[in-house]
Amino acid sequence: MFNLVIKDILIQKKQLIFSLVYLVFILVTFQGMGEAMFPMGLVAMAYMLSMTACAYEEKNRSDLLLNSLPIKRESIVASKYLSVFVYTLMVTALYEAMVIIINILNIPLKTFPLSLEMFIGGLVAVCSMTGIYFPIYFKFGYMKMRVANFVLFFLFFFGSSYMTHFLNSNHDSLLVNGIINFFNTQSDITISLVLLIIIAVYMLLSFLLSAWFYNRREF
């Protein structure tokens, strides 16, 4: 299964160089965003890399190849999920390396060294997107997923502004209050742990759904 992840990285050599340039761009232009710079950059890049990998699968009609090899369909699906975490780690390492370089060279840029909060925030953002679009990809393939993605993107943006509005106007409701209270009173570690568990369950469900879809696909 790991060699499928390596394959995804190998076919994207060019994109990886591009993502390095992209990361520099983010570090420079997202100065005003503060710590949110990292999750934003991470989502953009992990999203780009995993989408490109899917696009290459479609272009090479590699479903035929992969499913003719002695590989379980679940492993093919799992490798795509695994690759998202590999991209996340790669981008995180690159980001931290750049922060260090900027500081050593005294480049006049504000830097925001990685914190647990930033990392968990990034991970949550990456997972919530991939967790939705992988099942769509494994059910319908890349071309149809792009259409679905377009819709998802809008939902994501409008949804998040709606959520902010909802939280602000329902300050008194018990549930909202409870959630806000939880975040205010618990330590960072506890919050991170809770978020990690939620992500893990969410990704597991997403994987099971993808595998179920992919097992029923015909090529």
């Binding site: 060699n3 076919i11 590699s62 499913n67 002695p70 590989i71 379980k72 090529f219």
Partner: protein
């Protein structure tokens, strides 16, 4: 004799096409040619064998095992070459090998290097920069590098020049010297099979219309020519298909000796090519 591939009553329906309960058997040590026009169901059959599609009904056994239940064990021993390159175009031959090889328990690097050398394939070249012939040779190299006992080939020669086609056929006849192997070779280029196949299965519109030993087929069938006057006195039961032309008719018979006896010197009998046999069978309804 040991059966390597056994298909019984295989059915699969689509909106506009269906495979209508086909039977195919391949024994160890033989090459089975699977012929038929485009859209006859060759690729569908192969996809069902490889579990790329789900069958509606029927049994597919490979090495005596159910092809879905024992999918991974079976695929360890299958080599495949498809009509189009399905390897990642962005990778080099060497990179592609490194991705594929670990999946096979019995991957043989010596065999791989032997064929790479024989075919003069450039290891460091990206697959997208290879010619169509080279891509096919690379597919064949992978198919032959893990001690496969069944080679499944779906139109491997389509779009290749005669030289490369001949090379492929020579390799296949070499491979089959190893009596543990069998080859299932689908094509619409029938001349390929005249050279190497032991058995011929002809599929048309989702049905097997003919399955026979190739030599028997070529020796017994006859291409009959005769004058117009005879055309109206023919017993059409004897003929697979009849084609009328300006001067008379041309027809295919199953038993040329019987035809000779029946019509004596009123007809001329020639040896048909596999292509003639395929054409007469697939046009059957229109002509008789």
């Amino acid at each position: 004799m040991e059966t390597i591939l056994e298909i019984k009553g295989l059915k699969k329906s689509f909106k506009d096409f269906s495979l209508k309960g086909i039977d195919i058997t391949i024994e160890k040590g033989y090459i089975m040619g699977f012929v038929g026009p485009n859209g006859a169901g060759k690729t569908t059959t192969i996809k069902l064998i490889m579990n790329l599609m789900k069958k509606d009904e029927g049994v597919i056994k490979i090495f005596g095992l159910d092809n879905v239940k024992h999918e991974l064990d079976i695929k360890q021993k299958i080599g495949f070459v498809y009509d189009e390159n399905n390897y990642y175009e962005e990778l080099t031959i060497l990179e592609m090998k490194r991705v594929v090889a670990p999946f096979y328990k019995t991957w043989d690097d010596n065999a791989f290097n032997k064929y790479i050398g024989e075919f003069r394939l450039p290891l460091k070249k990206k697959i997208k920069d290879l010619s169509k012939g080279m891509k096919m040779k690379f597919s064949l190299t992978v198919a032959l590098s893990h001690n496969a006992q069944l080679l499944i080939m779906d139109e491997p020669t389509s779009g290749l020049d005669p030289l490369v086609r001949r090379e492929l056929l020579e390799i296949l006849s070499q491979i089959i010297q190893d009596e543990n192997k069998a080859v299932f070779f689908s094509t619409h280029i029938t001349t390929d099979l005249e050279k190497i196949a032991d058995y011929i299965t002809l599929i048309n519109d989702g049905e097997i219309v003919l399955c026979s030993d190739k030599d028997e087929l070529m020796n017994n069938y006859g291409l009959v020519r005769g004058g117009k006057e005879l055309l109206y006195n023919l017993n059409t039961k004897d003929f697979i298909g009849i084609k009328e032309n300006q001067f008379g008719f041309e027809a295919l018979v199953k038993d040329k000796n019987q035809a000779q006896k029946a019509y004596k010197d009123k007809i001329i009998i020639e040896k048909p090519s596999l292509e003639d046999i395929m054409l007469y069978y697939t046009r059957r309804c229109q002509n008789v």
